[in-house]
Symmetry: C2
Subunit: 346 residues, 2 copies
């Protein structure tokens, strides 16, 4: 049996680190096991064009293995050359690199490692939401280049608390995102999905379903995309839908690059329709060096943390001027004595 | 009455954005209110050295207002010149820029806007933990410079799930961090504090107290610092304590820069004793352009997500080779038909 695996090159990192299994070098850790049974394993990262290893070996391979990070794109055309192909295994989650309708017709099975990434992606989504809302990247860049201009960062830094966050897709990943967002005291958690969550599951994360997508995005401060890519979701977030976004909303896409229209998103960001975009998926992968999402930047807004301490300062001053008692929790040193234990006084 | 406010310059950002209240330009929004009552308000960012506005005006000011981001450092020496000073107001949280013992002796009150930042900091901590553990910055930088080398990032990217996270300090901020970490299914949440949490509060976040600090850090994959700076915590995280950290642990400090020894932390990172450091506090502020923390980088480790999909791939292949049934949730396309609804088939 001939097994063809299209993986990515790990180079030195993969040579030094055998746990980097998804690389050409480490061959998913299956080489010895397969060859000892007399099977043939071909591994390559070369996947584009008719002369690629991918198209050369697909002709007589019985099994195709590929990852979503560096997929061999199995179009209907390529499939027609693959006379022996019986099974496609996605080493990861998401088989949109395969023409599934063609696979159905040709009785080629498609399997993926379901659930292998759900926690990783949910964590990545929460991280992405926080770093967009809190305006982390401009702050980090400012520090690295040696500057110190607090207001340039603060003007567009907000708290997640009190914001409306909505997920397109409330499946295994989207639901885990909602679970992790629950203690952040968002104003509301919303979801858009073709089916409603079971009542108990929705109640557990206090999430409300919005059935109309335009209506859904118009209510969200943050939209996170957690649905598969298929005919119905390709280009779902496009110029037309972006018109219905709240002005200054943030968009997170960790699902598939092609669900969001590249140019429409870049333009919406430039025009301030959205305030930020974060994603780790690209249409196609590897992303071209000049892909607009690599370097696009957001315009500016204004933060919300400052009002609290400015108002609090005025209130303390007002109490002092009018001889009113101060709020006990604000007093560090009263008249001639510590009022708090927080500064090391026990 | 003379009120002296030491704030930071917001420049254009503050002129464009009146909500940037904590700036010299926008004067905490209290100028009109104060002056209309006949008081004098002096606002400046100039705070270093004997010739600074800070030291010039502190001589006859009755009220000093300053922010933790750009503090006027009120040492015992400076306080001796401040003959009229009756009250210091910290526009924010954390009054370590004031010699509190000297304030007690001189019956100068110290107040801060307690709680004004607790949610913001807790969110920042969770964001920082996620971006360290998930190795976000190297990935972001790689994308921006036009590269695509997945394994260089993946080798040091992990999930937060299954990790041990501990907070030094379980007060208003530390506790909110624990609340927000709860749904991430960490292996364990720990805290170190001079007093135990009330039993119900500890139970609500499933946190365990470790009384000895060295013992505490030796159990943590992630240590987050959420205690005030005072005589007992200055330089708390130093070379000696870092020896007791788990190899490759991550350190987050959003409390005060001086709680962590600058050079010891930079050295521990360089030597791989810790895997990463994230913080937004500096000793002193503004941080000098050559402060080691601005640009220090972590060495490399190895990620954990790949084992799941590599093992899953092998398992699917094994089922195929031995003619065993596949796990139903892994089947996208079975023999000649879709087995999932996730790809748009209803």
């Amino acid at each position: 049996m001939k097994v063809l695996a299209i993986l990515y090159n790990g180079y030195t990192a993969a040579e030094e680190e055998p746990r980097l299994l998804g690389t050409v070098e480490n061959k998913l850790g299956i080489e010895e096991w397969l060859t000892s049974q007399g099977h043939e394993l071909i591994v390559s990262s070369d996947k584009e064009g008719a002369e690629s290893d991918f198209q050369k070996h697909i002709v007589d391979a019985e099994v195709l293995i590929t990852t979503p990070f560096h997929p061999g794109y199995l179009t209907r055309e390529v499939m027609e050359k693959a006379k022996n192909l019986k099974i496609c295994i996605t080493a990861g989650v998401g088989s949109d690199h395969i023409d599934l309708n063609a696979a159905v017709e040709r009785k080629i099975q498609v399997l993926e490692v379901s659930g292998s990434n759900v926690v990783s992606v949910a964590e990545h989504v929460v991280m992405s939401i926080l770093l967009l809302v809190r305006n982390f990247i401009p702050a980090h860049e400012m520090i690295e280049r040696g500057d110190w201009q607090v207001s340039d960062v603060a003007r567009n830094a907000f708290d997640l608390e009190g914001k409306v966050v909505g997920t397109i897709g409330a499946g295994r990943i989207g639901y885990r995102v909602l679970q992790r967002l629950l203690p952040f005291d968002c104003k509301e958690l919303l979801y858009y999905d073709y089916a409603p969550l079971p009542a108990a599951a929705a109640e557990a994360v206090k999430a409300r379903r919005v059935e109309d997508l335009k209506e859904f995005v118009s209510q969200c401060d943050v939209v996170t995309v957690n649905c598969p890519l298929h005919e119905g979701t390709r280009g779902l977030v496009n110029k037309e839908l972006l018109k219905h976004f709240k002005k200054g909303a943030w968009l997170v896409n960790t699902a598939r690059g092609a669900i969001c229209d590249k140019d429409d998103v870049a333009e919406a960001l430039k025009e301030g329709i959205i305030n930020g975009y974060s994603g780790d998926v690209w249409n196609v992968q590897p992303a071209p060096k000049d892909h607009a999402w690599r370097t696009m930047k957001n315009p500016l807004g204004a933060g919300n943390g400052m009002a609290r301490y400015a108002n609090g300062t005025r209130s303390i001053l007002e109490n002092y001027l009018t001889d009113k008692p101060q709020e006990p929790q604000n007093i560090i040193v009263g008249l001639g004595k510590y009022e708090t234990k927080a500064y090391g006084q026990r």
